[in-house]
Symmetry: C2
């Protein structure tokens, strides 16, 4: 399969994918019959370049890694915005990696919708559009034939959706629970060493693990968006992030964290989704006490993990990175491989 790729967004995640494309060019060809060229890159900060004969991806990475724009790279056209790039680049695979917005999903939602309506394949790590518009986007994908993949929307490259496309395809899932937000897990882990919430939060902010406004993480919004995606994908629900029962960690005291440890366990911010007997799907996010024997209890720092309760295999837990340039870039690589295989 030959992919002609348009990058919509070229920040950390896009460049992580670019790194892997460049490193693994021969392996992709040999193992999966995948050829690729990049026909366009459009980024709100770095600028835009389009060339149907191929854009120099290594040069684009080099320039943006040093904070420079990409419009000096040779190309047939420059300066097109994201939607123009999607419409005019001739790409068959749109890699949507702009910023996250879980209020209305924009601008990613319009990018993905436009691409799918043109029958293009889309790989994205952008959780906003998937959390908010899953049903509509899947419907368009199904109608127009372009595949939509979003492995990176929950655990970055650590497999979730591809796990059930592949090795666990023969299982059905009854419930899911897990640690899907690295920032809050880091804060709770550090509090377990006897430090207060505000002290740890300030340090996480200094180290770049938490935003200046940490609301998205500490109030559970990020986890709620991911819980919605899991509920909608695995249980056929149509739950928005705002409808997820949600409690964050900003009210957790050091005393509660230390008490949990004394009782032989840990408090973790869990995202959960399950289908009730009468068919209703529930998604929720809340700090939860887990006994030490639970595989999720020992997940420390920014590591993420999900436990799936399945019919054939009991509980299966996957543990891995939930963020990072290379790990999130890998999600897009896995999605590209998955698309190629689904069309083979």
């Amino acid at each position: 399969m030959r992919f002609e790729i348009a990058f919509i967004g070229f920040g950390t995640v896009g460049r992580g994918f670019a790194d892997l494309l460049l490193e693994k060019r021969e392996y992709l060809k040999k193992a999966f019959g995948i050829d690729w060229k990049v026909v366009a890159i459009s980024d709100i900060r770095a600028g835009s370049v389009m060339d149907s004969n191929g854009v120099d991806l290594a040069e684009a990475v080099r320039l943006t890694d040093s904070g420079k724009g990409i419009e000096g790279i040779p190309g047939e056209r420059k300066g097109l915005d994201a939607l123009e790039t999607i419409r005019e680049s001739g790409a068959n695979l749109v890699v949507e990696v702009t910023w996250t917005n879980i209020k209305d999903g924009e601008p990613g939602y319009s990018h993905i919708k436009t691409a799918l309506e043109m029958g293009k394949h889309v790989a994205t790590t952008n959780k906003g559009p998937i959390a908010l518009h899953y049903k509509e986007l899947m419907r368009i994908s199904s109608e127009k034939g372009g595949k939509l993949r979003f492995e990176g929307a929950v655990l970055s490259g650590t497999p979730v959706f591809n796990l059930f496309e592949g090795p666990l395809a023969g299982c059905s899932v009854a419930s899911i629970r897990g640690i899907v937000n690295g920032t809050t897990n880091l804060i709770l882990s550090e509090m377990g060493k006897g430090r207060t919430y505000s002290e740890v939060l300030r340090e996480a902010q200094r180290m770049g693990y938490a935003e200046a406004d940490p609301t998205m993480d500490v109030e559970g919004w990020d986890a709620a968006a991911k819980a919605a995606i899991l509920a909608n994908h695995f249980f056929g629900a149509d739950i928005k992030p705002s409808a997820v029962a949600r409690k964050g960690i900003s009210g957790i005291t050091l005393e509660e964290v230390m008490d949990a440890i004394k009782k032989g366990g840990r408090i973790k911010l869990l995202a959960r989704a399950w289908k009730e007997d009468r068919g209703d799907v529930v998604a929720e996010v809340s700090p939860t006490w887990l006994p030490e024997s639970d595989p999720l209890a020992s997940i420390g720092g920014v590591t993420n993990a999900l436990t799936f309760s399945t019919d054939a295999l009991g509980e299966v837990t996957i543990v891995g990175l939930g963020a990072g340039r290379r790990a999130t870039g890998y999600a897009l690589l896995a999605d590209m491989i998955s698309i190629a295989r689904s069309l083979a």
Copy 2:
């Protein structure tokens, strides 16, 4: 794809697979285009029945579950042994689930080899033949075109090989470590509650988790066979179980276990495999101290887990059951799906 299945062995694992085949018949058809019928069952205790029009699988499960033989089931031929069944049943998929032997791999080795030489697909959970004869069997598979799958040889149905066929196919693996033997992990977990090795071993024997002769488990032989399989599959080695550097848990004292906990960690019996810089592959099994922050440290009881260190995704850990009728049966289902897909 239409599978005509011959069961070679019809003990707990074979019946676990049979349960899932019967439960998921419609799903297999709808999701993967898989039709199946069982054309033969041959078991050293339950007897043998062959019918090219299909053997009544539900009846075979019912009879063997009540300790009865299967030769009363209607069928064209009765009483054939395993090799005759493989040669004469016309099956295109041989499910090899006889007993484990890690000295010479027999009789599973001859069953698998015979089937592969006839170009048949083979799914097995039998670690002996895979640990001892991986290279030869893979070569025959490759020459004759029948696929060889053995998901269940390491973690029962919890995905290992199918994980890297599917979602992690874009990663390369640098090293593997994990808990691959439930009995020893149960013993070490219980010793962590302050009980002696001999007390816990006796209880595990009473409960059926440990054999009367526990050597295979407690001296690390089972784990060594699995380490050899991992080394041979992931790193292209040709290591026999007897060549795995191996230390079991029979020499571990209660004092050592409690000391490990006092130091904020756990002793676990780890199987490990990796490729050294100059290309040599190493496989070993030994009791190892892990800090509490390691995802493997909290894996208690009979649960198994493997951590893969990868180039693109850092460390990925999969945790799940390592034994059981249904979980091991699922390995064969996953293998059947994988074979169907690889031929689609």
